[in-house]
């Protein structure tokens, strides 16, 4: 299926201060390549939805901010003239229209003939897996079906940018995971420039070409899912994306000195106090005898595919370890911890 690749998008120094004085967004600059999927990720109140609404044209940025579609300044263009496809968290489907009428509404506004509309609607219901439901009313659909209708309606108009505001949040966990897969396939098929807002890091990892981690109205880090996971630039990003052990230690002769022994640091680490991050799956459990770093198992929780251990006594705080599910280990057992120095990530001291 050949869809336009969408526009290249540039958000330039866009800040947002609401009339009540609340500062929702610091001056943010962001470039999105055409066809790229960028996920805005952060806790609630971090400004991600405000940024999305500025791109959509539902909010105007403070003076000085600009939004560009393919180098054309659209800052003062209202949303109805921006040709954006938007999926709202509550879907915003029109209860007075059938599924087909909802999907075809944007095309009708654009003066597309009934016949062409019918063809496009058929194409999209097929693509989103809601074929046969064209004549249903919105209140006869399940949550997952509504989500698909909202998506079909948003992409029906061949939008320049597809904007999704927490589109899966209203669904239960199992359905969310399934739709995440479908959504990923759909976004790749369509190849439209996409901005996706979520607070769910797993969603962000699965869908984003790049992830923009946001905090307190500012961008904390931009990067591919792998780079924000493996190379977080702050303690906030490290802890927000996945589970992370954050250790405080003093480095001496290339080793971090810890209560339970020592840990080899990456080459070139300077001596002195450091903050280091370790992902739970990067730590291997080995025999306690003759190892550099030891601790005792405080708890074991078996979740099927893996088991999560809490090991105390090794560092200044309990260490979380994701171990293979075949490992036999008991609470209270003394174990050794084997850590590749390349898995240790040094973090700057957090300012906040």
């Amino acid at each position: 299926m050949s869809e336009g690749r969408g526009v290249a998008l540039r958000v330039e120094a866009c800040a947002k201060t609401f009339p009540n004085g609340a500062r929702a967004l610091e001056a943010v600059t962001l470039d999105v390549d055409h066809g790229e999927t960028v996920v805005l990720l952060g806790p609630s109140g971090c400004g991600k939805t405000t940024l999305l609404r500025i791109i959509a044209g539902l909010e105007a940025p403070d003076a000085g901010g600009r939004v560009l579609f393919n180098d054309a300044d659209v800052t003062d263009v209202p949303i109805e003239k921006r040709n954006v496809g938007m999926v709202f968290q509550s879907y915003a489907l029109f209860p007075n229209m059938s599924v087909a009428e909802n999907i075809g509404y944007g095309l009708k506004i654009r003066g597309i003939s009934r016949k062409e509309r019918g063809e496009r609607i058929a194409e999209l219901t097929e693509l989103t897996g809601i074929g046969g439901m064209e004549q249903r009313r919105i209140d006869q659909l399940s949550g997952g079906q509504r989500q698909r209708v909202a998506l079909a309606r948003a992409v029906a108009i061949h939008p320049s940018v597809l904007l999704l505001d927490e589109p899966l949040t209203a669904l239960d966990a199992a359905l969310r995971e399934r739709l995440r897969g479908e959504l990923d396939r759909l976004l790749r098929t369509l190849g439209i420039t996409t901005i996706y807002v979520t607070h769910d890091q797993a969603e962000a990892m699965a869908l984003g070409d790049r992830i923009v981690v946001m905090r307190n109205g500012a961008i904390a880090q931009i990067g591919s899912p792998r780079s924000v996971y493996f190379e977080p630039n702050s303690r906030f990003v490290a802890e927000f994306i996945g589970a992370a052990n954050i250790l405080q230690a003093t480095v001496k002769d290339g080793y971090a000195v810890l209560p339970g022994g020592r840990m080899r640091m990456p080459k070139g680490t300077f001596a002195g106090p450091v903050t280091a991050m370790l992902r739970p799956e990067a730590i291997a459990i080995i025999q306690a005898e003759g190892t550099d770093l030891c601790g005792s198992v405080e708890s074991v929780s078996f979740t099927g595919g893996r088991q999560r251990l809490i090991v105390t006594g090794a560092a200044d705080r309990p260490i979380v370890v994701d171990a293979p599910n075949s490992l036999r280990v008991e609470t209270g057992q003394r174990v050794g911890l084997s850590i590749e120095s390349s898995a240790v990530r040094l973090l700057p001291e957090d300012r906040q």
């Binding site: 539902l58 949303i79 109805e80 003239k81 509550s90 915003a92 209860p95 007075n96 506004i109």
Partner: protein
């Protein structure tokens, strides 16, 4: 025991409704078609009083419907967009506007009429025309339309629906027509029903505002009670009922059908 109490209570309620609502209405209408009310039904039935009322007041009756229809039109044109704007805008200013619109509910009709007369009584052409009465009726009925529509709009997420339609390329008027009005329909119908019945039955305001040439149904009724035979006044009541009841039933049915089609489809 409790069941019997409930049954007794229901019976009492029915009896009270019959005694104070249905019986007086029926007797009044019967009086309108008896030859001589003081001699009772035995004096025989006649349509002469009804014919007399029709001859004397048909213009008044027509005017009443004209005013009600125009009031409905005006409240639709002003009230529905106003309700939409008040809901979408929100905030303190909207609250204040809503309060001001609702004010005529709390103020006696006579006071509103007096205020209108003080300000516009001097514009004699306006003062003498039925439009003067229409102005009063619109002021009085507008809050009913606005509140009914706002109540329905408040139950659906209008703001997001509006944004959804905007994202698909619909301008403000198109959004209002395609998305807001259809979804506000139950409220608009309920509001319309209130406006028409209130306008047709309105007496306070109209009595102050009318001239001998711009009477409405209820004012004519008062006029006939005051100055004619009891049978003529009763015949007037009969005419009033015959005109209004089918209208009310029709509007109610219309409202039921359109709201029913929403919930069951």
């Amino acid at each position: 025991m409790r069941d019997r109490l409930i049954v007794a209570g229901q019976f009492l309620f029915t009896a009270l409704v019959a005694a104070f609502l249905i019986v007086p209405a029926i007797l009044s209408m019967l009086a309108g078609i008896t030859v001589n009310y003081f001699r009772g039904i035995a004096s025989g039935f006649t349509l002469q009083w009804v014919i007399q009322v029709w001859d004397l007041y048909s213009e008044t009756i027509a005017r009443s419907f004209l005013v009600a229809g125009a009031a409905l039109l005006a409240t639709l044109v002003i009230g529905v967009p106003a309700a939409y704007a008040l809901i979408v805008r929100g905030g303190r200013l909207s609250r204040a506007v809503e309060e001001i619109i609702t004010l005529p509910l709390a103020i006696p009709g006579l006071a509103i009429a007096l205020a209108l007369l003080l300000v516009y009584g001097g514009f004699s052409d306006f003062r003498r025309s039925w439009l003067f009465i229409l102005a009063g009726h619109v002021i009085f009925t507008l809050p009913f339309m606005v509140r009914a529509v706002m109540a329905v709009l408040a139950t659906i997420d209008v703001k997001t629906l509006d944004e959804g339609a905007a994202s698909l390329g619909a301008g403000p008027w198109r959004r209002f027509r395609d998305v807001i009005v259809p979804n506000a329909r139950p409220g608009i119908l309920a509001g319309a029903l209130s406006v028409v019945t209130l306008s047709l039955g309105e007496f306070n305001l109209t009595w102050m505002l009318h001239t001998p040439l711009t009477k409405t149904l209820p004012v004519g009724l008062a006029d006939s009670y005051a100055s004619m035979r009891l049978e003529v006044a009763s015949a007037y009541t009969l005419v009033f009922f015959v005109m209004i009841i089918p209208l009310l039933v029709a509007m109610q049915l219309f409202a039921d059908i359109s709201s029913g089609s929403r919930s069951q489809a």
